[in-house]
Homo-oligomer: 353 residues x 3
Amino acid sequence: MRKAPIIREKQVTQWPEYDQLEDGLANYWYPAMRGRKLRGKVPMQILGESVLFVRDGGEVFALADRCLHRGTPMRFARRDFPGTLSCIYHGWCYDLKTGNLVAALTDGPDCPMVGKVSIKTYPVEERFGLIWIYMGEGTPPLLEEDVPEEFLDPRIVLCIRISEQDGNWRFAVENHFDDAHAQYLHRFSLYATFSRVPAYKRGSRVVRDGKWLEREQDSLHFAADYPGLGRWPKLRFWQKSYGIKVRVRMPGIGMVARKAHTAFKFHVPVNTDRFLFVQVITRQATGVRAWLFRLEYWLIHRWLYHVLFNNDDVLMTKYSHSGPENLFGPDISVTGWRKMCIEEVRTGQVAAE
Amino acid sequence: MRKAPIIREKQVTQWPEYDQLEDGLANYWYPAMRGRKLRGKVPMQILGESVLFVRDGGEVFALADRCLHRGTPMRFARRDFPGTLSCIYHGWCYDLKTGNLVAALTDGPDCPMVGKVSIKTYPVEERFGLIWIYMGEGTPPLLEEDVPEEFLDPRIVLCIRISEQDGNWRFAVENHFDDAHAQYLHRFSLYATFSRVPAYKRGSRVVRDGKWLEREQDSLHFAADYPGLGRWPKLRFWQKSYGIKVRVRMPGIGMVARKAHTAFKFHVPVNTDRFLFVQVITRQATGVRAWLFRLEYWLIHRWLYHVLFNNDDVLMTKYSHSGPENLFGPDISVTGWRKMCIEEVRTGQVAAE
Amino acid sequence: MRKAPIIREKQVTQWPEYDQLEDGLANYWYPAMRGRKLRGKVPMQILGESVLFVRDGGEVFALADRCLHRGTPMRFARRDFPGTLSCIYHGWCYDLKTGNLVAALTDGPDCPMVGKVSIKTYPVEERFGLIWIYMGEGTPPLLEEDVPEEFLDPRIVLCIRISEQDGNWRFAVENHFDDAHAQYLHRFSLYATFSRVPAYKRGSRVVRDGKWLEREQDSLHFAADYPGLGRWPKLRFWQKSYGIKVRVRMPGIGMVARKAHTAFKFHVPVNTDRFLFVQVITRQATGVRAWLFRLEYWLIHRWLYHVLFNNDDVLMTKYSHSGPENLFGPDISVTGWRKMCIEEVRTGQVAAE
């Protein structure tokens, strides 16, 4: 029998100011891909724009994936001279750094268009094994402004998984910081087999710590008698409660600090309905201990956490949020993020200063 | 060589009042699936709505497939307590019978939302081996009002095929009651090999019999000389004329009574462009004769009638009815159905009385 | 890593009068398929209309692919009488030549619709191994008016490839006549291995020759020093410059005359975003030399020219032309074609005269 497919409607909240940010926040640095994945040219869509990443002579560049002449995708371009790219259609040749048209090969050495037009280029940086792009207005801020400070520690080991997911970026961020979903959705994850997950909390609140917003509570409760229903949940003797610290910051970076490692999640808007999910698990380690951590990542965290555990989140991000919402107590974590997002979003003016 | 695909436009008639009913008639009982297909949860789309059918403790329930909290599909829900369903995202737990929120597990036993909100539920009944749903306004009528009375005979044997088809439901009903198509389209069916199909009829009319509209005529004509063309069709000595009785009733139930068995067809709108085609062949029989009839169904009627013969209709329902129509003589059967549909459609007021 | 798909937007120029012709030019003859491909019925979409080509008794006909009665596609029709086609749904029987309804078989020999309605038919001709259709207004011009006069030579041999391609027809025509793309895009084609392709030209212009527009120039330049970049391109000793003559005429027929053969290209609009690409390579030859030319075609030109070489053009036609354009010197060939197209397009009035 044919099951009905899930009908997805436009994802909205009841916060119009927040919904206006659905296309993504332009004036921030975002990670786009692992550095080692960029050989030659890689076209991507970020914040709704078609961007072509190029590695030339070891350096990384990013430019609009559309030639100024006839709109031909620059992903088809050829490299005739170092530091340039020539559109495949008629040989319009651009400088990768400035975007300036430096020749139109099929119009000879004295083509009058040369020096008059420039293709759009984007500031990029290659750091921490990732390629970062700034697609906003004006002069970009320092990359360090938009990267968790833990990344700056030279002893940090980063284990990365990047995937493209359905759903609007802001619901992926909400899902990360959402308090209650961890207590129900993730309770059934293989990754939580040995964790005693609270049933509910009391005195939940969000507090500010530097650029981060953090969840706190007065008490955790692991089981209760629900009127008319009975006791929930069943407690297992092999499960133990682990303290974790969950945070979020602009432009939608999530953080989960555990004793053994800290996880970061970047949500990079591809367009209104898709996002790049950049997951990073980190730990301070050097030498053999760094390699052991990498081994542990590939044996355990990669599959149980970066794939299975987060796939539950991905399903919620994709299929929830159609139709009206009814927020309740634990949603102060969600509304805390929404408020920060509306109030602190970096505007073009600030970025240009 | 690539053949051009058929271009499907919006299916319309020249009867605006009739076209307004394209989304389906809400205030009726419809068969949704075979009872034995429902184990656990089955999501369906009916009359444009996403409905989740649930079997819990032997009983059947139907509710909206979207949690009130964040719009998460309830098809992902878990069963923590008998007679309830808990949304997978945050454990909002609904009573299956009333739809009332009986707990929000992740907000503890004293969650203030409890008792304040209710998910939409639909009246359902499991009868005649089928699960029936009422998606209309107010108190539903008795199921018996919307079921052919033949179904109520305890000796009746029902052989069922359910498929989902393209095309608007009202053209599937028209096709059923349409007089002339049986004389041309179905003439070439394997199922009609031994039937002498009339070329044309004279004195065609539709008459009323209780809830049913029935086709009648003064005379059948099996061949004729067509001016400028020649004699049509060729008569085969092995073919014999069989009398059949063709009927239609609200909300689009078809009936074809033959000597050996009676066929019923339900056309359940999935959305504007799809319908659930519930075909039932029936006969009064008990004991061994009932099993022989089932055997005959699986050996003959299943494939020749429910699949092959009706696939021709399905093709017409899907691909015809784009662009203007030019109705002619035999189409009084079609217009008869259209008039009944417009005049007798059960409104919310009547259903609620 | 998932590469971003190319985002295709509506293809436009900065010439509004030219963009109005995007749906195609109606009042011309177009080749639709090879004659030998038409056995029975072949449905096609041309100029946005659904057309059914029919071969009956050796003759070729074309009619609308939609019955007047209920809009059923005529591609499902049956042939009950010579020179007619009967719609599969209710046996409405049309004369293939006139389109007149000559019988509605299921309404008997005296059906009052007969003689009152006619399905749309189109003038067709089978010539030069191709089936041609005129979908415009009024009496069609002579087919010879819309066919290159080379086709009329009885000694001509035609080698044909027909494919359906993405992109608007007018950009395919532009691409054909475009001067500069041959000097860059095609430079890298296998078919150009032994050709010394110019880097740029001087004194480029378009001149008129009868119905044709032709590209001319004062001088060809094979390499140059580009300021700040260096010398381009590398010259290969095994390459030789071959003179070719490139032309275009209404309604978008391209011609490339080489010493050994002449290529023609017809661009038949399927709809706004697709076109039928009819490529013909011709040569005057008879007897054994004609067969040797056909052999050469299948061994060389078919794959290197009609498939590989032109696939580069097809890619440009499909993916360029989104967003604003910046025309430059060599684009006088493109603007020459645009002007001819706007000024000389055959209107309904002229066609009907």
